[in-house]
Symmetry: C2
Subunit: 346 residues, 2 copies
């Protein structure tokens, strides 16, 4: 039910993903009548996916502004919580939502626990970089402050994700900082830097500055959730502004006729390319289950990407990889009551 565009975008996006991947069977949580109406009114090219979509009636909703603590107290019957219970019960491989991120994280921790004793899961998405590359940025807002220990957790989780899911043999890991010299940054960043240098086998590259993210300086860039959130959202805002300027520039200088004839398809492609942060699901990394957050402003296309992102993580059994690699040989995926560290600042 989540997302700024409502269930139409999520249902159509889910249908698009189902058509693209014939293995998918989808269970949709929300008010039955509303969802069935959306399925019945799928455009013709998506209609065939309707038969692979099952509706679970869950009329309770998590409001966009609801605090995580409130969601934990009163959200047990919401469509979001019902979806996560289904995942926790092993009836699904992954859960995808475009709803309230803080609530999704809090309810996800309670339903699923975390892997390998990770106390604070993180949110990560792939940022497009030069040369058609990608870079995982984390945390994006689950932890507005992060100690050195947490930054090290984020780095290790991101590294496992880049290696396992994207098949990068030796992902390059970096810490976001205000300069590349060793004396720069906060105490927690400098301590995390010292610890990361000591982890055997980790291709740790030290500090990168903000422009290094898009320059492709690393495959995984780590920061606290306040910084990551600000960087991600500012990037979205800048991309949107620049798209508008590109359009204005070409309309002003080349005339609307030429733009009409030749430029529209190119401009449409550009718009998708220039607003790329919107077109990736964000992984809730460290949960003992696969949960992907779709951008709240995403259209059907954005939600389709989020579903396919979840499929990728299922294919590579990401939570098990995280549990094995971060928890040592004996680690299993452990269920934890995830309320201890919860707060509403996320």
């Amino acid at each position: 039910m989540g997302g700024d565009l409502g269930p139409r975008a999520t249902v159509r996006g889910a249908a698009g993903a189902a058509l693209q991947d014939p293995r998918l069977a989808l269970r949709l949580f929300g008010p039955r009548a509303r969802l069935e109406r959306e399925i019945a009114s799928l455009p013709r090219r998506l209609a065939a996916a309707g038969s692979r979509m099952e509706v679970v009636d869950a009329p309770g909703e998590i409001a966009p502004g609801l605090r995580p603590s409130e969601a934990l107290r009163h959200g047990g019957d919401s469509s979001m919580a019902r979806m996560l219970d289904c995942l926790a019960a092993g009836e699904a491989c992954a859960a995808i939502s475009a709803g309230n991120t803080g609530a999704l994280m809090a309810l996800g921790r309670r339903a699923l626990g975390t892997v390998a004793g990770i106390p604070r899961p993180a949110i990560s998405t792939a940022i497009p970089t030069r040369e058609q590359g990608r870079c995982y940025l984390l945390d994006l807002g689950a932890n507005v402050e992060a100690s050195a220990e947490r930054l090290v957790d984020f780095a290790r989780m991101g590294e496992v994700m880049a290696r396992r899911v994207d098949g990068i043999a030796r992902p390059r890991v970096a810490l976001l900082n205000v300069g590349v010299e060793g004396t720069k940054g906060t105490a927690s960043v400098r301590q995390a830097d010292a610890r990361l240098r000591e982890i055997p086998g980790l291709d740790y590259r030290g500090y990168v500055e903000g422009d290094g993210i898009f320059a492709g300086a690393a495959d995984v860039v780590v920061c606290d959730g306040f910084v990551g959130n600000a960087v991600l959202k500012a990037s979205e805002g800048l991309a949107r502004m620049l798209v508008a300027r590109v359009q204005q520039t070409f309309e002003a200088h080349w005339g609307s006729r030429l733009v009409g004839l030749a430029a529209r398809p190119a401009l449409r492609r550009l718009r998708a390319e220039l607003d790329p942060v919107r077109y990736n699901g964000a992984s809730l990394l460290g949960l003992a289950g696969i949960v992907v957050k779709s951008h709240g402003g995403a259209d059907a296309e954005g939600f389709r990407y989020a579903v396919l992102r979840a499929v990728q993580e299922v294919e590579h059994d990401l939570p098990r990889s995280l549990a094995r690699e971060l928890g040592g040989k004996d680690a299993t995926i452990s269920r934890r009551a995830g309320t201890a560290g919860d707060d509403d600042s996320q």
Copy 2:
């Protein structure tokens, strides 16, 4: 002497500014022979400015990676320190540098002191926003952490700058946060929010998220220097990546001939518009003197903007306005030994 492109860019940029503003008289600090060579080899269109540029021989340099503490100990004879001494002695109205920012701030505090008892100056630049607007973002890296009190100082300084220098009658001020709800963010951001609400006459708009910066949601957006630096540099990196993609897209889809005939001027204009964060000087706000930092990667054009930015601040006597408005009626610009709070994490 500073900047990635060396003194050629600064000398040509300074000459460009001098031609544009006939009131300007410029004193250039650096190795005499090098600077005189650059002045002698000014392109014809800039050559007339040479007679308004005086060279002060100052062969000592501040290296780009030098720590602020090192600059304070050993940089007293550098071209940067000599320039700031000249400003402190009242022989100049403003100082402009493309060199080491941390050193400029540390040496600037020692030479000039701060206004109105401001313990921590901040760095601010104007970010372009939609609808041809601008937004001052601060701090950009002088303070990697900032208490609520410091965030309030930054907000008040930014507000005075937007009102006095840009003539905005009631600048809208906002705090950067990870969400707009009151429960979001770090303790210092939430405390600063509470204090800003109590300042009479301040048009405080509460929280904005990262995309609000470019959307023009406020005239002044306040954050700590770690966040501001990450946001600014990530925006630069994204803008550069998108410029490259725009160019590729049009070359691929419209063919090089059409691009050659019609698109090049438009693309050139776009490149300047899309990389706008580079084309503003950054103000060292709170110093008892006007010091503008030009982007280290700026070309002559970027340095010209930085000089003209300094001129604007001189015209509106920004330090005196800050002293008067932030310090109450009796406040004067007070010289302070600025070493107490200096550290190398900036």
